[in-house]
């Protein structure tokens, strides 16, 4: 079980080079920095062609795979090779976008999880293929305007609901699965610290808003992430050896309306559409609470 880590407990050591070439206010950058800091010296990192390389000027060794479907396979190779070399101290860590995780990378992810390969897969979830200009992914929230689901006479934005990837990974019976958010760094760091020494497949999906793709002022990146947690759009929970635990419980969920309307990608949505998302959020939150403290399935 993870425990939030107070920020005062962090040391000053950094593994990331300051000032990157990502957008102003990129929350994915915050994810890469925190992962590099917490996993530290022992990290060997896998990247694919996401925005990651733009913000991942990290000094730990990196292996870069041009194609997304390769992440799981490449990390499997590294994990096994380091194991053969007797280097059990090394933590093979992926910092991979939602497209490279939930869609194109999914078979490699699922296969690695099923084989319980010794790796930590961190997905920074900006809810679209941002590096190539903001195309929808299966992690995009319903009704969001993206460049492949524009809003117009015949389209209300993305038609499908967000894929419940954390649950999908959880039912692979992996040793550790968690959700996290850049707005709750203490919780995220606690989860990384817990996951770091665990052997086998570990997965953390981190909500990382994108000012460019979601169309809001960069200064609100963390605020938007926070409102998503407070409204139940992105609940924080973990599954340790099959048992689910909600790690942050707002007393009462805020309505999703305000956080949706604060983003340009949802500016068009009607009250009925808000209600539809609200209904789904309430239902999912209800189920999570039922399962809290017990088995995921």
């Amino acid at each position: 079980m993870s425990k939030p880590v107070p920020l005062s407990k962090l040391d000053e050591k950094e593994f990331i080079v300051p000032a990157n070439s990502a957008c102003q206010g990129c929350a994915g950058s915050i994810v890469a920095r925190i992962v590099s800091k917490v996993i530290g010296e022992d990290m060997v990192r896998q990247e694919v062609a996401c925005c990651g390389p733009a913000f991942g000027n990290i000094t730990q060794p990196v292996f870069y795979g041009e194609v997304f479907e390769g992440a799981g396979a490449m990390m499997t190779g590294f994990a096994r090779a380091f194991n053969r070399l007797g280097r059990d101290d090394i933590r093979v860590t992926g910092i991979i976008g939602d497209g490279g995780t939930t869609d194109i990378g999914f078979q490699g992810l699922s296969a690695s999880a099923e084989r319980n390969e010794d790796m930590l897969w961190v997905c920074y979830d900006n809810e679209a293929y941002m590096n190539t200009g903001g195309q929808r992914s299966s992690a995009t929230t319903k009704f969001a305007a993206t460049t492949t689901t524009p809003v117009g006479e015949f389209s209300r934005g993305k038609k499908e609901r967000k894929k419940p990837l954390p649950i999908l990974v959880g039912v692979h019976r992996v040793p550790y699965m968690a959700t996290a958010s850049v707005a709750y760094p203490e919780d995220f760091i606690g989860k990384l610290q817990y996951a770091k020494p665990v052997k086998g497949f570990r997965f953390i999906q981190v909500s990382a808003p994108c000012p460019t793709g979601w169309n809001y002022d960069p200064r609100y990146s963390v605020k938007v992430a926070k409102e998503m947690v407070l409204s139940g759009l992105w609940p924080l929970y973990e599954v340790v050896e099959g048992a689910l635990r909600i790690t942050y419980k707002p007393k009462e969920l805020k309505p999703v309306k305000d956080v949706l309307r604060s983003q340009g990608r949802f500016r068009h949505i009607t009250d009925e559409e808000v209600d539809e998302i609200q209904g789904e959020v309430d239902e999912f939150w209800g189920r999570l609470q039922e399962k809290d403290g017990g088995p995921l399935f």
Binding site: S21, G25, A54, R219, S221, K223
Partner: protein
Amino acid sequence: MEIRFHGRGGQGAVTGVRILATALFYDGKFTQGIPMYGTERRGAPVVSFLRVGDERINERDLVHEPDMVVVLDPLLGRTVPITEGLKKGGLVLINHPKGGKETGLGGKFKVATVDATSIALEVIGRPITNTAILGAFAKVTGMVTLEAIEKAISEQWSGRVADMNVRAVRKAYEMVSEPVDVSGVKPVDVVKPVPGDRDVSSWRLFKPEMDKGKCIGCRRCYILCPEVAISMVDNKADINYRYCKGCGICVEECPVKAIEFVQETI
């Protein structure tokens, strides 16, 4: 005539060129708007090109020796050689709050300035300068009418957004300065970014200013700055402005409001 546009990702250099090319076409000209696509992200330097003539243009190359350069960002010239290839006697139109001789540009060309950032902040509420600069373009070149620009804008946007952009265009038309000769001015050196020690200070439109007396040392801004520009010195947050892009996250997230966001002075 060939024109090069410089801007930053998010300022709308590509859209600006498209609107201008359309407007010139409405005024009976032949035009080409040429966007350059790469992996540029919001805030990173971008270029796009415009070609205009009275007859059909068969050339399809990028513009290498422009007659005119349009610059959407006042500080871009610190890291990008914006006057490279500019023809002798050419013209630079730059978004800058000061006069043509005080922009850091110098050489055998003229410089006209317009404070498009202030106009955009006032009229549109966001520092998107691509439409305002078109009003200034119309005035200093006399090549395109305001009516044509307004028509092209109303095809790009509608309603309130179109109205705001039209107002920004008109205001910039009024406010742009006369081009001045800068052959006597010594240009400020262009400093290219050093890998591993990037200076991103020129990305900033607003600057986070820290009141150390108020800081309680909670470290929230320190862990949330996407650029890792904040360190803790004697348990107080300390901003290294070389690495700060001015995103404003620290300003929003400080629980005791120790950080203020103030517009950069140039």
